[in-house]
Symmetry: C3
Subunit: 344 residues, 3 copies
């Protein structure tokens, strides 16, 4: 009996299946420091326990995207080992902050299947949940990937395409228990701009750039126990390049967005996202954001802001996303749509 994991193929997924992903992970101060070492992360609520306490939390949580990466990483051996492409995200909600000492595990429920007309692959939709050691869901999101068939003769399953919200309504966002921005310290946070200072349609060029190194993206991706060969093995692709984990680009762009969005403190919703073009080492990543929407919340002093976060190669024009053909421009790496919380 072969002992190694061949991954799942399209025909191995059934609607309603719940996959318990392996290798729970305890996170702590080490992950926190590494996140700050790998990304230019400066949002004060994650940098300072004191700032977090002044905001009504017991201490700084693990960065929301680090929590996402840990939960996501566990799904790779079961969901994306034979994936051809990562097609999209939807309905991502952060439900509980993750604190040092928490142990995370993940499950994925198969909620959609559609075989491609070529009969060689299909699209699998899963709802992934991240759980802590108290069996509370800390994160919940839908992702769909194109997966190869192994047995081309396997019959096509009944097509099921889940009905996914294009945008999470602001009223469904979960505000972390106790969060209170009424005594928010804008000086310590780094910028004076509050929720009311941002206008829908506004474009913010985050100015700074970071050149990507092989060692850094591998250290990050390994830290999340993401095992996809293409990120680590230079002999895997014919061109000898290691494809950079899309989540590395997400975290880099989000950290760069501090410059202009220092007060967009916590990420609570992921409406959608596309890895528009692949990223390789040597590229310099920059970022710009667009304000897509704003909403009030019931938490004291806390507003919600919906942002488009775009990662681009250095040299790209901020605000330029797609060409006349409706396709992403070649310099665009990432187009992410998320909800963050900001002082009002």
């Amino acid at each position: 009996m072969a002992k190694t994991n061949p991954g799942r193929f399209f025909e191995d997924y059934k609607i309603g299946d719940v996959i318990a992903h392996a290798v729970p992970r305890t996170v702590g101060e080490g992950e926190r420091a590494l996140y700050h070492a790998l990304y230019p992360a400066r949002h004060a609520l994650y940098s300072s326990d004191e700032f977090a306490r002044d905001s009504g939390l017991p201490e700084s949580p693990l960065d929301d995207l680090a929590a996402f990466h840990v939960v996501f990483g566990k799904t790779v051996p079961d969901v994306s080992l034979n994936a051809v492409a990562n097609l999209g995200y939807a309905e991502g909600k952060w439900l509980k902050p993750v604190f040092a000492g928490d142990t995370l595990r993940s499950t994925s429920e198969v909620i959609g299947l559609k075989e491609n007309s070529n009969g060689k692959s299909g699209v699998v939709y899963v709802r992934t949940r991240g759980w802590n050691q108290l069996d509370e869901v800390v994160l919940d999101y839908v992702r769909w990937v194109m997966v190869r068939k192994n047995d081309l003769g396997a019959p096509a399953p009944e097509t099921v395409i889940p009905d996914l919200k294009k945008v999470i309504p602001a009223g469904e966002l979960v505000i972390p228990e106790g969060l209170d921005f009424s005594n928010y310290d804008f000086v310590q946070a780094g910028e004076p701009h509050r929720w009311g200072d941002y206008e829908v349609g506004e474009i913010i060029d985050h100015v700074d750039g970071v050149t990507i190194e092989e060692a850094e993206h591998m250290i990050a991706t390994r830290l999340w126990q993401n095992t996809a060969k293409v990120h680590f093995d230079a002999t895997f692709r014919p061109d000898g390049q290691r494809l950079i984990y899309g989540g590395h680009v997400i975290s880099m762009a989000r950290a760069l967005s501090f410059n202009g969005l220092a007060n967009a403190q916590m990420i609570v919703g992921l409406n959608g996202g596309a890895h528009a073009n692949p990223c390789f080492s040597g590229l310099t990543v920059k970022a710009w954001s667009e304000v897509l929407d704003k909403a009030e919340t019931t938490a004291p002093g806390v507003g919600a802001i919906r942002l488009r976060l775009v990662a681009v190669k250095a040299g790209a024009e901020p605000g330029q996303l797609k060409g006349e053909d409706g396709k992403y421009l070649p310099d665009v790496l990432l187009d992410l749509d998320y909800w963050a919380l900001m002082p009002m």
Copy 2:
């Protein structure tokens, strides 16, 4: 008086000498996170405090190889600064798990000496012990190295070659106090294969590969306070290459072996090991294992499995170790013989 450490030469070692190595080291959550960032480590007992507790331990210990590297690193300034070659390991036993907050120090006892017939160097055998802050031995192993003479006129010492076991008998392995695999969660651990599923002689190709980066091996080797110039200084070797610490290859191969040996959780014995060929950055490391032996233990649900772990360059054929001349094939980097604990 020169203030810097010239290292010891062959004539400086006397049978029975015990060298107290410098710079004790407290390990913690940072080392744990870095180990997971530098190696694709996924064994559940080290990844999750909850899994460790369900296995009868108070929390996840520091990875057994990280403990080895810390203990080994301290010996470098006293044992291998003038070493020509690291010749072998034997009788390595992990006696106590190392937990966050523990402070490690090392001692080495000279147990063997043999001058080479050329009169220019000799082989030194040391038994190294790693101690925690309670003066308990956590790790104990024998290592022998070829060391240069400084004073070629120094008389050859009486030859003493220690009587070393080729393999640690299973009955002498020390099982961590409280370890209990009777309620082992194979789903969380990542693979269904238990002790009974492995057969002596079985070869497992671990499939995955990692391309080695200068920054990563230096970060790892520095973390263990290993000071050998050859790993860090590109001007040291005539070819301008930095030789990669053999322990980096050991940890890389062991982490890769998760895929097929996810349940070989704890390392308790090191029977022997050879760094068959040097490793440099840019190489892609893969690994395969051979089951060498199996034994029962007295701990509930815990079996012992003796494994050969082989690190190779990408492209090598799994299972191929030596040529017709009895020498290691050029693609073989590491041949390690160890005992691990596995659920029965």
Copy 3:
């Protein structure tokens, strides 16, 4: 309204202004481990909690230079974003050790201004203070930088040049509360040389070298939340090189100085420093020290030693600092003058 930080220009500084720098930072075990991973740091007091306790401290503090880097990093967006050059340091005092769990923030008071005769830039002197969560000053130093003017028509301010001590008198050094070296363990510390063994004028070649990697200096510089573009963005300089943060060279040289100065445990004073030549990845850094002065202290068994720490490119002659023209030799990277504490 532009949301991103343009940085301050020369005309924006007024004598007496106190700038509260943004983004407080909680430090912990992760930063400690990363410091040991990024630099060959081996001073026992920072490596072992047990050694620190035997020296009268509650546990190992964060490395003094790590504390410096965190405090310094916060000043970059407000002080050096438009700086042309970092000109000097003076009167640096470490006033309180920083322990895991402490949260640091920084303030800078403008204490000197001098417009250059070209009318295009000027020199700004600031006294920067690092504070912990108890509002205690942990570090205090003066730094001066040359900053561009934005509005060339802005009138020149009155010239104020602060009266700075060339050397902090030994009697003004602050010894950490409780520090006691009377039972100092020289074997564990790594070298037998005590305060009395060093002579003023003595030169120590630290022998070891480290080749600089892009990933490593970026990880380090990011960890201190230093945002200067020139360290991270390969498209920023016309030559495509990333300039290495001067503090990376300081920490590298200081760690290398262990070999010969293992007992120069704690840094308590920074008399001055110059980044003599820029450092780029691929260079191999070595270091040498000169004993500049010695003084007794009131703490039991604790002496103070004033050292010149020089970082050089591999191949440079130890002890050679400046040419006949009085300028730093091209192989010199750093010339640092500091006070450390050593067992008597």
